[in-house]
């Protein structure tokens, strides 16, 4: 999932707050790294995703309500 593929995020959202776009990219990267990862690494990345999602929430992100919704 990249910012461009997040249906709830519009280009104007990203213009208003560039940090939102960067965090969404980071989240997409965390998801991508789960491919072919060990259970240990996968779980660690899931935990990292939880924290990134918290940060998105602080920025007023509303396209999703919780990480598992993706």
């Amino acid at each position: 999932m990249t910012p461009a593929h997040d249906p709830g995020v519009t280009p104007s959202d990203l213009e208003t707050d560039p940090k939102l776009g960067r965090l969404l990219s980071l989240r997409a990267q965390l998801h991508a790294e789960r491919v072919d990862a060990s259970p240990a690494v996968t779980r660690a990345l899931e935990m990292a995703d939880i924290y990134v999602f918290l940060a998105l929430g602080y920025l007023g992100y509303t396209a999703r309500l919780f990480p598992e919704e993706s």
């Binding site: 924290y51 918290l54 929430g57 602080y58 007023g60 509303t62 309500l65 919780f66 990480p67």
Partner: protein, 455 residues
């Protein structure tokens, strides 16, 4: 590293204009209604019965006047059938299981994901950070880590903020006093009644708890942290600089917190929930500034079991434009929880709020903070008996009772019955103290139904 010099935990939303906040709320609510409809059979049934589809909820009027309320019986009914009410996420996502305190008669089972526990913990950071709490601080927990979520969520708050956690689990009160004296935490967390009890214990042991260097008392579960006289007692007994109040709803955790400028209440943490007050008789929003109504919430924290337009039955006074100098734009609830819609007592035409009685008891010398309110009905009229302990065993209890009855009559406008008891008569509690005993039969209690079609 967090910007330690910024007084706001999340300035972007914490000080945002109302229209910005409301736009974010409406987006989240619409998404949550859709989620509940898609994944929770009990919510789908509720909305289908009301003839509502998620796409119908587009405006605030749709939310206020068309979307049905939810209430505890809805979840209890589903819990009876499926173990947990209103579920949208299965056990592969669950991180921890809790239940409510059962204050209203039965436990409501609750499950939270890892994300929800962190999000629930974040609810504390706004107020604690504003009060100057930083990762170099430490928090001591005076509870036994049972199934009640209340102080567990404080623990997640401590984790979220980066505090050092000190556990007082499994300890006697005296052991806790000794630990506090030894480890010198900057914050001690518990219910107000229990923290006063610990100070009493320390005193009995000849220990001056004020020398522990505790800077802040924090907690919730009871109204005491919002009651001026109880706050003063706590400050005097512990020698602390700050008393931190948090208002919790078991289903959505501690949804409101006090700010540094404490103005007699708590701010709704609008990053984690939407809150508004309704007239319990009609279900319509209370719009006048300072008006009292039932708090109705939508939680953005507890999503495994969505609580959308959920009746808390707590009576609150809402100030949508707080101006006491903190800069927060989030709703302020002066007095925190004033009472309960399911515990409304009208004595000779006067609404009597338990928090008001507690404050008035505290204003009279010679009385302890240990009290109980007993309500019964005689010939259709509510009567309230106030039982309160004297501080000294050899005081003239009938005379003190007379003074208290007069004090209550002067300030409440109605005479309550008063019984002053010997010290140590009433039970002590570690968690929520049971203050209110309603002896009225079910048919004698006020039945408040929210008016309107879908409401």
């Amino acid at each position: 590293m967090a910007h330690a010099e910024d007084r706001y935990w999340n300035r972007g939303t914490q000080t945002a204009p109302r229209e910005v906040l409301d736009a974010i709320h409406l987006k989240k609510i619409r998404r949550l209604v859709a989620l509940a409809y898609e994944r929770s059979p009990v919510h789908r049934q509720l909305y289908d019965d009301a003839g509502i589809k998620p796409a119908d909820i587009r405006t605030w009027d749709d939310y206020f006047y068309e979307l049905p309320f939810t209430d505890k019986p809805l979840y209890m009914s589903d819990q009876n059938d499926h173990g947990i009410g209103g579920l949208v996420l299965g056990p592969e996502h669950w991180q921890q299981f809790f239940h409510t305190t059962g204050t209203t008669g039965r436990f409501l089972n609750e499950v939270f994901t890892q994300y929800e526990m962190h999000k629930g913990g974040s609810q504390y950071c706004y107020g604690l950070w504003d009060c100057g709490v930083r990762p170099s601080d430490s928090m001591y927990f005076c509870f036994d880590w049972g199934m009640w979520i209340g102080l567990w969520s404080f623990y997640w708050g401590a984790r979220n903020l980066g505090l050092t956690v000190l556990s007082g689990g499994g300890m006697s009160g005296k052991d806790r006093v000794r630990q506090i004296m030894e480890h010198r935490p900057t914050i001690v967390c518990g219910t107000p009644t229990y923290l006063l009890h610990l100070a009493e214990l320390a005193n009995q042991e000849g220990i001056d708890i004020r020398r522990a260097g505790v800077r802040m008392l924090a907690g919730g579960g009871e109204a005491g942290f919002s009651i001026p006289i109880t706050r003063r007692r706590l400050i005097e007994a512990w020698g602390v600089e700050q008393v931190y109040d948090a208002y919790g709803v078991g289903e959505a955790l501690f949804i409101a917190q006090s700010c540094r400028e404490w103005a007699g209440g708590v701010h709704v943490i609008e990053d984690v929930c939407h809150s508004y007050a309704v007239d319990p008789a009609t279900g319509d929003p209370v719009t006048e500034r300072g008006g009292i109504g039932e708090n109705v919430i939508t939680s953005y924290t507890h999503l495994t079991q969505p609580f959308v337009k959920y009746r808390t039955h707590d009576l609150v006074r809402v100030d949508a434009s707080p101006d006491h100098g903190c800069g927060w734009t989030w709703l302020h609830l002066p007095g925190s929880v004033l009472g309960r819609t399911d515990f409304m007592v009208t004595v000779r035409g006067v609404n009597v709020y338990p928090t008001a009685v507690e404050n008035l008891i505290g204003e009279l010398p010679g009385l302890s903070n240990h009290y109980e309110l007993h309500v019964q009905s005689e010939e259709g009229m509510d009567r309230m008996l106030v039982k309160v302990e004297a501080i000294l065993a050899d005081c003239d209890r009938p005379a003190v009772a007379q003074r208290l009855a007069e004090h209550l009559r002067t300030h409440l406008g109605v005479r309550l019955e008063v019984d002053v008891l010997a010290p140590g008569t009433l039970p002590r509690y570690e968690l929520k103290t049971k203050r209110v005993f309603d002896h009225r039969a079910a048919g004698e209690r006020p039945q408040l139904e929210l008016g309107g079609g879908n409401r």
